[in-house]
Amino acid sequence: MNHISPILWQFLSRWLQHFPLFPPEASQLAAQSDALFFFLVLISLVGLTVVVLLIVGFSILYHRKRHPKAVQIEGSTLLETTWTIIPLGLFLVVFVWGALIYFRVYTPPENAMNIYVVGKQWMWKAEHPGGQHEIDALHIPAGVPIQLTLISQDVFHSFSIPAFRVKREVIPGRYTSVWFQPTQVGTYHLFCSQYCGTDHSQMIGSIYVMKPEDYRAWLQASTSGQSLAQDGERLFASLSCNACHNTRPDARGPNLVGVYGSQLTLANGETVTADEAYLRQAILDPAQHVTQGYAPIMPTYQGQVSEDGVIALVEYIRNLKTDYRLQQTLNTTEIPPQVEEKAGSTAGQKPTPSPEVKP
């Protein structure tokens, strides 16, 4: 009995204190997703009720005691057509409705604030544009569309925030993205929902949705001294990328200023948009991503730069809007001026390991 009673006690007290039946709706998409969910619940209930009524009704009406002789019926084309068409119609409605939501979830708006997330066994590492790192936590402002660019360092993970009704597989070797706009301040669960090995169930964290002003304060308090793009600039210089990628007329590599978001024509004739995924591929596998007019001389950086490093480089290139020399201070929108000043003063030193922010 000794070991049963604590469990029983735990059970009762939990029941009394905390017994949620429905998750909070904390993002713009949540309500839309739930609307479809309740529509589905409704048609399920109706369907189930119909089936149960039929079974129970017929069982009573045509019980052997009451109805000793069965009447043989072949079938009924009319009835059968009815219960083919009605479910089909309902399912098609569900399909279209679902597809609309799906496209919304996986199409980030242009002005979304981008945060990088790296998944590895068994932790989440979020990298804010301002250079703030956090482990198993994500601080975000409410009311702002936020896009996550996700990548895994090892196996499949899945970034799941039930309160926002969003989830995206985090895949090794490729960026995926998802976006949401938190509406309610609060702390929510972050789960890894794809089985990823021993400590899969420990790969959880918290999403802190803050008021914008609180968020700014948090950014200041937890800055590592340099923005992500500045990390990238450091790396860019230390890998001697600027030996080829510079603004000189005889440069051996394409000029990267303003390259992000532009249409590129590749050596094989393809046209691509230079987004995050493309930039990552171009760094790790340059041979397949040669811009037209340039020789395929860039070495691969596969295995030499970590995913964190690639993210820093991508973020640097993303923010390259003017000439390299003028790029002393970076205009990453979310960093308040004093942080930038501080960052500027440390430029040129060896990058110091950034303190990880633990909530």
Binding site: P286, A287, T300
Partner: protein, 258 residues
């Protein structure tokens, strides 16, 4: 159909005989649960076809993988395939087609009850099957020497610096692959070995059954009107041939000019 005659052999006659009554004497080779020899033939023949369907899907997974990977790592697949010998590939195709022909003739011999000819055809098929495997062995040995066996003995040197292998370089003038892509040639050779290996495994099984059939044919089996086994084995052998008919262009030929 002018080029084929409806069955003349005794099988149908015997089948009809078996139909006459429940207790009519069955041929010894009729299994107890079949109503007639014809039903037995039909059922086993159909079963063989269904089995071949599963084989199609088995190789289907490999072909799909090959297609996806080839699209991703096009240049690696092209230069990887340049290291295969079209001469041996063509020879092997011819050998296998010939063995298919001798097998088809074997079925004909069994149908028309020619024992000596059947034994000859089966021996030829067996021999050609062995020749195929030997040639395949020579090719695999070549790949071992050239360090193109993925996972066990692989070097990207030939692809980073194609001039190393002058014979192939003279013919194709391959451009050097950069590190990232050169490593993907291992992917090509992985699929090459997986596909030809699976195919060779089927050949080995086939040859094993051929030995068994040869042994029985010399004792007069299959030419007594009960040729189902030969016919069904023929289907299997032709199927293995068809797989090779697709492997050959995909692995050896299509990349020559790419």
């Amino acid at each position: 159909m002018s080029d084929s005659t409806t069955i003349a052999g005794g099988e149908l006659a015997e089948a009809k005989e078996a139909m006459v009554g429940e207790h009519a004497a069955h041929p010894a080779y009729q299994r107890h649960h079949f109503e007639s020899v014809a039903q037995q033939f039909d059922a086993t023949n159909f079963a063989m076809w269904i089995f071949l369907l599963t084989e199609v899907m088995f190789f289907g997974g490999l072909f799909t993988s090959y297609l996806v990977m080839r699209n991703w790592y096009y240049s690696a697949f092209v230069e990887g395939s340049h290291h295969l010998s079209i001469f041996w590939g063509t020879t092997n195709t011819a050998v296998l087609i010939t063995s298919s022909f001798t097998m088809a003739m074997g079925v004909w011999c069994a149908q028309t009850r020619r024992k000596a000819a059947l034994v000859l055809c089966l021996s030829l098929t067996f021999f050609l099957g062995l020749v195929f495997l030997c040639i395949k062995g020579i090719e695999w040995h070549g790949e071992w020497v050239d360090q193109h066996v993925p996972g066990l003995r692989f070097s990207q040197a030939d692809f980073i610096n194609p001039a190393l292998d002058q014979d192939i370089y003279k013919e194709y003038h391959d451009r050097p692959l950069t590190g990232g892509m050169a490593s993907k040639t291992e992917e090509y050779f992985f699929l090459y070995f997986a596909m030809t290996g699976m195919h060779a495994l089927h050949m080995v099984v086939g040859i094993g059954i051929l030995v068994f059939m040869l042994f029985r044919a010399t004792k007069g089996a299959y030419t007594d009107g009960h040729f189902t086994f030969v016919e069904n084995f023929g289907l299997y052998w032709h199927f293995v041939d068809i797989i090779w008919i697709f492997l050959f262009p995909l692995l050896y030929l299509v990349s020559r000019h790419a």
